[in-house]
Symmetry: C2
Subunit: 392 residues, 2 copies
Amino acid sequence: MSQDSSIINTGLRGVKVASTKISDVDGETGKLIYRGYLAKDLASKATFEEVAHLLLYEKLPDSDELKSFSSKMAKERSLPAEIIQALQTRPKSALPMDILQCAVPMLAHHDPEVKSTTKEHALTTAIKLIAKLPAIVAAWDRIRNAKQPIPPDPRLSHAANFLYMLTGNPPDEETSRFFDVCLVLHAEHAFNASTFSARQVASTTAHMYASITAAMGSLSGSLHGGANTRVMEMLIEINSPENVEPYIIREIEAGNKIMGLGHAVYKVDDPRALILAPMSKRMGEKSGETKWYEISTRLEQKGKEVFKQRKNMDIFVNVDFYSASLFYTMGIPLDLFTPVFAVSRISGWCAHVLEEQFAEAAPKAVLYRPESEYIGEYCGPTECPYVPLGQR
Amino acid sequence: MSQDSSIINTGLRGVKVASTKISDVDGETGKLIYRGYLAKDLASKATFEEVAHLLLYEKLPDSDELKSFSSKMAKERSLPAEIIQALQTRPKSALPMDILQCAVPMLAHHDPEVKSTTKEHALTTAIKLIAKLPAIVAAWDRIRNAKQPIPPDPRLSHAANFLYMLTGNPPDEETSRFFDVCLVLHAEHAFNASTFSARQVASTTAHMYASITAAMGSLSGSLHGGANTRVMEMLIEINSPENVEPYIIREIEAGNKIMGLGHAVYKVDDPRALILAPMSKRMGEKSGETKWYEISTRLEQKGKEVFKQRKNMDIFVNVDFYSASLFYTMGIPLDLFTPVFAVSRISGWCAHVLEEQFAEAAPKAVLYRPESEYIGEYCGPTECPYVPLGQR
């Protein structure tokens, strides 16, 4: 079985590249499934630790398993002193996603088993990376603000500990839970661009660190993980609910997209956005700044109206739409939105690397190596003769 | 036009993902073309600087262009002191490919224009990365051996300067030219795994640094850039020409592959191997150690015979087969073979990132987002109900 080789599959849309047991996205009905479970059920009932266990070990943990897994994760949270030291050599203006891309390979440098090719080692590495990424993000934010990084508190949950390491204050229970829900909702989404990057690198048998670093690079792109930042920049530009309608009309007339509206896969509202919206509302009330939620909700409503009227198009909010105002009112700096996305999605990436390299059903030793069509020029019917330098 | 969505395209074999003007690989006739020119013509006549110019600017430079380009490259060779300082914090046991993956994003940290999305900036970054990568490889090799990194010598060619920074001694003319030919021959090879990684990350609009870092990760895999190292490890294991035949028979009987024999694309001898073989012979004579070439050439001959007799298979040498003994007799440490591959291939990667993001014919804003088939389990006909922790 092979595909029609005359077709150029731009962006690989509609081209199946693998079977996966990790997640299912039903764009028609707006269902997102992690290993059999609805993400919205997990968001309302499970913690990020449970979901990370589900993704990595293919099952929700029982009480003992969760205790053991959470304890392993908590023990792995701190960073080697040499990594803090290396981060301190970095210019304070460095982009946080560029910091993550250098910090992940640094963790490889400190792994005495880095050459191991066992599944056990890959799992250990996955736990280490998921556990340490929040520490890297928080340490960098403090270093660039001339503050000392805060050591992790093993008594706190994964979600609460990140906010604590970032701000120096343990968050209240509601904020901590909201952030935990965000982590659950961003954890996994099938073969999105960054996950595909991770799998693609893993297919060469490169290690977990290299695969995750590639995914970080992919997520840093403004078309992918950078989108939540761009939503917030848009909200700041709009600045007030009454500016929403003129903004939409201006953008539509200029032929621009509205950030956070529309998704490559969903043909209905993104199931994650439906959960994020009320949290954004509540967090706005809590923080005393309801403006960002108000602009968002008006933008959603008016955006849908205007697109329907002018373009006869149904458009829907995506995950970035309400996570932007939610992260902002939680006090997360704008340029850490994408790193926070990574703090969650790294659990999905790791599960995909494990599946790419160790799934029983997977064919061994097949790296992704697509074809391309050469449309370059030849000098005549065949290749160009080399012209010596002096005669060019 | 779309593909049959019931087919799973493992490894994307035979699936066209893009049009490219950069290179053409004709596996049937053994032709490798860089922008219209045969790689073998370029290898015998052009320098790496000319080829890098050809790849980035779509034309062979005239004398003035070459002078200007070479001078730009030479000026960009040195590393910021803070990067040397950060490398000095790294454990000496770190794998060199993991060092490259942290050093490339570090260069992003020092770029005040890192947010620029212009083609001009991407080109400037490409030149910077191509110029600086040899300095990173050489600096790391010296740091891990407790030696001071050697500043680049702008009077030397790109090839000669790398060997100088690595060893502290400028190479003789013949060695320098041989290394230059290696750089030319490894520079570009269509949509191989690492190049595809670079393009895939670039498709999210992530910057050049992030794209190249991903490619480094892909190249570090033993199925891809790690193959030249594994060829040399095999030669060391065989150790003597008379051990070749028993080695081949043992490996074939165990169902193993012989490293360096066979290629996913070429159905004849890899055109690059044909050029590398005589250089390996000559370098062996020069260095006084002809054993590695002798083992290689006997392995090629006997391997072909035995595969034909026992499996009725025609097998052919690939690029890694003779580059292994050649690099080794040049005094390049075994674990720098893949980094040296990167020092060359980065020119192709950069050309592909430029094409992915700026080609006029390219559709704008389409990231690679393939499909997958969900084969996970459900609890009954639909999704699994969430079971609370205490009841699992």
